[in-house]
Symmetry: C3
Subunit: 288 residues, 3 copies
């Protein structure tokens, strides 16, 4: 009888995510080992407990999920997890802190249903936040020209430099979007706009959106009103508004959930996978 | 295949209750998400993780149990849980902090096997404590005249006022029971006495109990000797002593366990139930 | 249908051991209740939750595992667990903090495959540490003459006195092994050497080992290089080196894992077992 599928949930928050746990069970795992308040220094010992308990041929029946509200903390936990592997002793791991990887993948895949991304010019508002950066990475990796929008242009430039290192062929441009006028200017010639900013802040008005003739797709990732893109509904799922295919956070959500579950299932196929933004996106593409 | 039954256990204590967890598994749940040290401010995010992971038609496969040693803290967690629902996004929830609801229900149901509660006059000793208040609520709701006993008469009056708001038709009377003489006086004409005081304090002596000619049923909810009612054994289960049907804490316990499990199973029948004292009592009545 | 097999994992560390949890599931338990940061004062209430939820004839479907990195803390938790039982209300419990009991049992059983322990003279280097003390206890209980090695001779004498109380017939001798010369002297006439010291300290050089004509078996319990016994490999499993059967930590490890799982399974056979070093050893002997 095959060993039960065990998922180690590492979460930096004081209370481990219920969301991530329910999805894990719905993806078919047998047992969940939940850890809250996890710090980088804890990871090695926890992961070694997963490496040294089963034979090498059974290591793919144990996997690690890294969650928590902070993407930057999650990235540190992922680095500590990978650093604790040695030789053939490793298990597969998925990073989805704050849902950032599955959300970014679902947003870009939603857009790709309407656009040839290699020909697209995209503007990512809130492009320096944790989800925004991942949207930028994925769009750039798909060949789109990407404008990285931020209230602070220098912060946008830092993100461009960081993404360029990961995606050498990336075509990136930092744009300051501190006010409506500069945001409207940044939208010039853009066929895809994605809003990935903080909750409850409108980044682009409905009027400004309607004023753009090149725009084809608009994706808003904020579930709490007011949304980041004015005039879009949270449930929009490719709904045409003024000639633009619109997506709200819940509209993107069902694809995000499918990707999340598929990524969890994928973990148990082999013991050597590290699923971060690009890997989650590649996996999502198989689903659409 | 139906989604697995997941129970979210919210417990304010530093170590989540093992008792509540074992009962949950014995009631047939598939997976348990245990949270200790839960504060009201944590509840919204935890419960939202239960609301946003499954389709509306599957929400009844996820439920919340609120435990912990403090009933007043549990009531706050319940309020925070219900406040986090919106529209059709809700899951069923059972409050049984300190076992108070299932214990009070079992105590009142045990008495009802011997008495017509609508015709009964009851004295609840320790009636201002967390279990005692629930016994008062349930007896009053069943139509009994209830004397709420407390060492401090003003505290008893506060509880009467509080219960009257919940049960408008309640017939309540606060009685000070600081010593044996006043307790004996409070017992005058009483057909049911329930002791729900702190552990290890005798609230009514065996002699005083024998001196009451109207008494028909005596229920003690304290498992640690000395019991609250002198001359009763912790295992008594309707045992006749001097013409009075007597119950000890363990004698009430097996019905309490049945009610606890039935309430957990009930949670998964629909996603819109809030099971507090009255709902747990109604459910217990179906079992006896 | 029999009640599910529930294991209560009590762990004094801030993050409960993943290792112990995975082994528990691989040993066939149904549900695991994990508690981290457990102190002696917490144990009574946690264990009572296991005692009062199921009928007496079903208590063997619930058991306790005590782990954590500190063996001395684990021993305190075990004492508190046993003290919380009363009359027939008890559940079976396994202590394996830091893997000490299963490791010591596997080490002694590995040696016993090559030696008649009743005729052996053993030297336990690092004999005052948590694993070392258990190796001393088990060897003495099997009738071997045991030299308890420690850098501090007085600490070795304390351990000898402590073990003598548990094993009245024990033949023990404290030996100071602060340097190579005294360690070589302590090895004189020894047929079995076990190194159970701290990680990364060589306690006996390969040359010193080769210089001993009586030596038949050498067991090293340290998985991190440099090993405690020079010239031995961590994967050695009875490998002959210079006429000595050699074992490294991983070489002992597969037997240790078998013993760990067998001990967990044994817990669910009856509700009255307390599995510490000697009981785990006896159980291991049935496996080899």
């Amino acid at each position: 009888m095959p060993k039960p599928k065990i998922l180690l949930q590492l979460d930096g928050d004081p209370q481990a995510s219920v969301f991530d746990s329910v999805v894990a069970f719905d993806a078919g795992i047998d047992h969940l080992l939940r850890h809250s308040g996890v710090k980088s220094a804890d990871v090695r010992n926890l992961v070694h407990g997963a490496l040294f308990t089963r034979g090498l041929d059974e290591l793919r029946r144990t996997a690690v999920f890294i969650g928590g509200g902070s993407v930057s903390e999650g990235e540190k936990l992922l680095a500590a997890c990978v650093a604790s592997f040695f030789g053939p002793f490793r298990v597969s791991v998925l990073l989805d802190a704050n849902g950032a990887n599955t959300t970014a993948a679902a947003a870009v895949l939603s857009a790709a249903a309407h656009l040839d991304l290699t020909q697209a010019t995209a503007l990512v508002l809130g492009g320096t936040g944790p989800v925004g950066q991942r949207v930028v990475r994925l769009l750039a990796g798909e060949g789109a020209a990407v404008r990285v929008g931020s209230r602070a242009a220098d912060r946008a430039a830092e993100v461009c430099a960081s993404v360029q290192k990961r995606v050498p062929n990336a075509r990136l441009e930092p744009v300051g979007t501190p006010d409506a006028a500069q945001t409207a200017a940044a939208l010039e010639g853009v066929s895809l706009v994605v809003a990935a900013g903080a909750a409850g802040v409108e980044l682009l008005s409905a009027d400004a959106r309607r004023g753009s003739s090149a725009l084809r797709v608009a994706v808003d990732l904020n579930a709490v009103p007011p949304l980041g893109l004015g005039g879009i509904e949270v449930t929009d799922r490719g709904k045409e508004r003024d000639g633009v295919a619109c997506y709200g956070a819940l509209g993107v959500g069902s694809l995000k959930m499918k990707i999340h579950k598929a990524a969890l299932r994928r973990l148990f196929k082999s013991n050597d996978q590290v699923l971060d933004a690009e890997e989650v996106f590649a996996l999502g593409r198989e689903l659409v």
